[in-house]
């Protein structure tokens, strides 16, 4: 058996992330919308093995937090350790949306709370929100970016391949799309929609809006690649053998542009995840209390959070490995599909 390749690892990680999204209810220790108002801005839990009296525990434990009145500072109540348990009972959820369960992967006994990466301004568990948010943001980001790149690939390919009037019309449209003040358009879109959107509708809307707005840039890049590809010798050869436009485009020209398209995809996914924040501003995003990475990051963009609660940034850090994985996957796809390297 051969060693796993870089692409294989990245692919597995990516699959893992999407799988964990499906299992979010089980993996997350708490209900992501449950507010613990006495524990707002609680710092990440300190896992311990040695208790206050110096005794060593085999199982990691935490102490319950006691708020200092009038502040968001906390003291640990060292009178009782709360060991971390596997499969404790907690909030009801459905595994993969199907199997009802109220067991979670890990947790601690009440009344203590296990906030592994801290809590937010309402005392909601950030880790649970992060895990549940993975059901929305990476998926929406991927779909929206794919939509934008697909449209860009088709329109850019057609424009570059046929040239002339087609090219002129499509590229002027692309410029128009880039020049339109989208913010005002979003306002108009929002006004035309019902007052409150179901989360599922909001999710699809986010994908549609970001995809529609984002196609112009990839289209222009694809067009430039196609423009040079269509004059290559092998394209001329294919034509001289009587290949149809569609075949030439599909077999010989567009594959040239795939590299560009994939790079664009990898670049667009993070942008799309962040675009969700903007959409939320116009009431188009997935709203509170449902967690999405976009609205979690929106909460960080305030000075007092920056100055006081560093753990609120952890959701942002979670994006870093995700983006790296995306880059790795695109890289592999690029090499396989475009360069046809093993």
């Amino acid at each position: 058996m051969s060693r796993p390749t870089r692409g294989g690892i990245a692919g597995m990680l990516l699959a893992g992330i999407y799988a964990s999204a499906a299992l979010a209810g089980f993996l997350a220790p708490y209900d992501p919308i449950e507010q613990n108002r006495g524990l707002a801005f609680a710092p990440p839990a300190r896992l311990r093995l040695v208790d206050a009296s110096g005794r060593l525990h085999l199982r990691p434990f935490v102490y319950a937090l006691v708020p200092r009145p009038g502040t968001f500072d906390y003291d640990e109540d060292v009178s009782r350790p709360y060991p971390i348990r596997l499969f404790p009972e907690g909030a009801a959820h459905r595994i993969a949306g199907l199997i009802p369960s109220n067991h979670h992967l890990f947790g601690v006994d009440d009344p203590a709370r296990l906030f592994l990466i801290g809590s937010d301004e309402y005392g909601r568990d950030l880790l649970s929100r992060l895990i549940h948010g993975a059901r929305i943001s990476p998926v929406a980001g991927l779909l929206a970016a794919s939509l934008a790149v697909s449209v860009g690939l088709v329109l850019g390919g057609v424009a570059g391949f046929y040239g002339g009037v087609t090219d002129q019309v499509l590229m002027r449209c692309a410029e128009l799309v880039m020049a339109v003040p989208w913010l005002y358009l979003l306002l108009a879109v929002r006004a035309a929609l019902p007052l409150a959107l179901e989360p599922r509708d909001a999710f699809l809307l986010v994908i549609a809006v970001i995809g529609t707005v984002g196609w112009a840039r990839p289209a222009r890049l694809v067009r430039s690649v196609v423009l040079s590809a269509r004059t290559r010798d092998y394209v001329l050869a294919a034509r001289s053998f009587g290949a149809s436009d569609a075949r030439v485009l599909r077999r010989h020209v567009l594959p040239e542009a795939l590299g560009v398209a994939f790079t664009q995809l990898a670049l667009l996914v993070p942008q799309c995840i962040l675009a969700e924040v903007t959409l939320s501003f116009f009431g188009l995003g997935v709203g509170e209390p449902l967690p999405s990475w976009g609205n979690m990051l929106a909460g960080v963009q305030r000075f007092h959070v920056l100055a006081s609660y560093w753990w609120m940034f952890l959701p942002g850090l979670a994006l870093v490995p995700i983006f790296l994985i995306y880059y790795a996957v695109t890289d592999v796809l690029h090499r396989h599909l475009v360069l046809r390297a093993p």
């Binding site: 209390p289 000075f303 959070v305």
Partner: protein
């Protein structure tokens, strides 16, 4: 609109500087539209009240405050004496009747740097409608009678004294003699008569106009002699002299011609030369750098002196710098690049507090202000096209339903989580910050889900098997709350309410909306179910609240455009509010207004949440810094502010 007092909606657009779009839209966004029902963005709103997306913008008549103003510069470089001689034929003219201020005697020199959320749009005190403009204009203008922001009572300003006839309809004001506009031209009764002609002119449509008209009819203003002016009101008005607060006296010699030519609304723009303007405030306009700052300089003719006989103001000038979001304002203040900071959010206050001593500034928590936040339901008469909302109005119109919502809300958590303890839970619309008028009998409801459920049950709602509240037809109770997307504080409040109401079985969706789009829905299209807004400002007097509580009022937010009061309790409020206007007995007025507060608290057209504390800060060596809860909180006594150390304070 600077209505003295009219409460204003403040939308605290903290916006955190975060979202790209927001930043984009910042200038127009932050300053609100003052959009009344019929005005577009940026237009003035319904009389009396400003919608401000940002806190410091709250106006009210408070803001357009009674300073004097004057821009000018024609005589710059000449001594006052020369000017005097030039204008009025020499010292034979009247000696100046100064107002002697009682504050700590300071020292002259230095400038004050103030940050603003957006650039001012105009320097015209007649047409000003946006908060940043008002902030800049206020120190350059003066009113006849002024409401002291500290005591909340009236005191003499340009009028050294006044008398009110026994029937409360005629006021006679004695003007201060010998005082001058900032260009050196003398001020007298002709300027006063001219000013009121302008403010009451329907063609000019000044925001002040409606406020000045008692019962919709303008006052008759008559010059008795050079220093006496007589005002006749159409109907008796309690504390009628409060009308004069913030009504800036205009220089007839500068504005009469443009007024007669019908060009007054366009006069005194940002680009106007300082030498073409004049006012009676402690400062006068000096310079405007577009996109950066507006500078005011000391008015050498100002009519106040300190106890030692030194002419005010102490400062050489005030510079207003545009900084478009609260976080950036806080950082500038922390870095020493701004000298005062008003309307700080509680979270930023907590951050600033930590470095208070090391950075050389002082912070003050003035306790509850006049502003409050409230949730209200759409009780408007809807056009037939909005069947879905109309169906839900069957719930919203039930008083017990509103009471149940109120009982389910955990105000203490809002205070603690959102305001860091720096806010007060509210029972009614008059906050504890309004010392003269608050009704102490009203206690904020303690949270009780049991009471909420009981109220719902009595009103015919029941709990379904899925632990959801359903109405008599079995329809589950769910509604949406509209909230300004650029206001993170209110979004937090909404999230807490959502969770609270979820616990009694109501499903609530939060719908964040761009602020102006939101106002459009509330004022024009009525396409909303419930909304969360801050309301506030004003001078605290009930008269400044008429446009909210009268059923025909332009800010009667929950049900606009009523021909007849829609409910018996609204009819009663109408009656009591109209009656109190002409009650000359202060205690009878207080009883009447207490009654209004009680009716409102029982029927809950607004579900009152909390009143945030007024949080301000200033450099430690700024003398006479005595912030007040009324607008303008930190600059109301800008003529008395001084630097304890020479040359302290950054100069731009």
């Amino acid at each position: 609109m600077t209505a003295r007092g009219l409460p204003l909606l403040v939308a605290v657009a903290l916006l955190a500087g975060t979202l790209a779009p927001v930043r984009y839209a910042a200038p127009s966004e932050n300053f609100v539209p003052v959009a009344g029902p019929h005005n577009g963005p940026g237009a003035r709103s319904a009389p009396g009240r400003y919608w401000a997306n940002q806190p410091r913008a709250l106006p009210g008549r408070g803001p357009q405050r009674a300073f004097l103003a004057r821009w000018g510069g024609r005589y710059q470089g000449q001594s006052p004496w020369l000017v005097w001689a030039a204008d009025s034929g020499g010292p034979a003219a009247q000696a100046e009747e100064f107002l002697i201020a009682a504050h700590e005697v300071g020292r002259h020199g230095g400038r004050l740097v103030v940050t603003q959320r957006a650039e001012p749009r105009t320097l015209n005190p007649v047409t000003v409608a946006d908060a940043p403009s008002r902030d800049v204009i206020r120190p350059t203008t003066a009113d006849l009678v002024h409401i002291n922001r500290e005591t909340q009572l009236t005191e003499p300003a340009l009028a050294r004294s006044w008398t009110v006839s026994p029937d409360g309809r005629r006021m006679t004001l004695q003007l201060r003699r010998g005082i001058r506009f900032s260009d050196g031209h003398p001020f007298d009764a002709d300027d006063v008569v001219f000013s009121f002609e302008v403010y009451q002119d329907p063609k000019i449509d000044s925001p002040q106009r409606e406020l000045l008209g008692v019962a919709g009819r303008p006052m008759a203003v008559k010059k008795v002699d050079r220093y006496t002016v007589q005002f006749d009101l159409a109907e008796p008005r309690a504390v009628g002299e409060r009308l004069f607060d913030t009504v800036a006296m205009l220089p007839k010699h500068r504005l009469e011609q443009v007024y007669r030519e019908g060009r007054l609304p366009e006069a005194w723009r940002l680009g106007t030369a300082p030498s073409d303007m004049a006012g009676l405030g402690p400062f006068r306009f000096q310079q405007h750098l577009p996109g950066q700052r507006v500078a005011l300089e000391r008015n050498p003719y100002y009519w106040k002196v300190d106890r030692a006989g030194g002419r005010l103001p102490y400062l050489d000038g005030v510079t207003f710098v545009t900084v478009t979001n609260e976080d950036a304002q806080v950082l500038r203040f922390q870095a020493g690049e701004a000298d005062v900071l008003a309307r700080i959010g509680a979270e930023n206050f907590a951050v600033l507090e930590r470095e208070q001593t090391s950075r050389g500034y002082v912070l003050k928590d003035l306790g509850p202000g006049l502003e409050y936040s409230m949730l209200f339901f759409n009780l408007n008469a809807l056009p037939g096209t909005q069947g879905a909302i109309a169906a839900k109005q069957n719930w919203f119109r039930v008083t017990a339903f509103r009471q149940a919502v109120s009982a389910a809300i955990d105000r203490d958590s809002i205070v603690r989580l959102v305001y860091r303890g720096r806010a007060t839970p509210l029972a009614g619309h008059v906050t504890p910050g309004n010392r003269l008028w608050t009704n102490p009998q009203l206690r904020p409801p303690a949270r009780s889900t049991a009471r909420a459920s009981e109220l719902l049950r009595q009103a015919g709602f029941r709990m379904s098997d899925a632990r959801r509240v359903v109405d008599a037809q079995g329809q589950p109770v769910e509604f949406s709350i509209l909230v300004s997307a650029s206001n993170p504080v209110l979004n937090q409040v909404a999230t807490i309410i959502q969770s609270d109401l979820g616990q009694v079985g109501m499903r609530v969706r939060i719908v964040p909306f761009e602020f102006r789009a939101m106002l459009d829905r509330i004022f024009k299209t009525y396409e909303y179910e419930a909304a969360l807004l801050p309301l506030g400002g004003g001078d605290g007097d009930p008269n400044s609240e008429m446009n909210v509580w009268l059923s025909s009022g332009p800010q009667h937010l929950w049900h606009l455009g009523q021909q007849q009061p829609a409910t018996p309790w609204e009819a009663e409020i109408d009656r009591v509010m109209r009656a109190q206007v002409s009650m000359l007995d202060a205690s009878a007025r207080k009883r009447a207004y207490d009654r209004v507060q009680q009716i409102v608290a029982e029927n809950l057209p607004f579900i009152f949440l909390v009143s945030p504390n007024v949080l301000v800060g200033a450099r430690r060596d700024l003398g006479n810094f005595r912030p007040a809860v009324l607008e303008p909180q930190v600059l109301w006594n800008v003529d008395e502010l001084f630097w304890r150390r020479p040359s302290s304070g950054p100069s731009p």
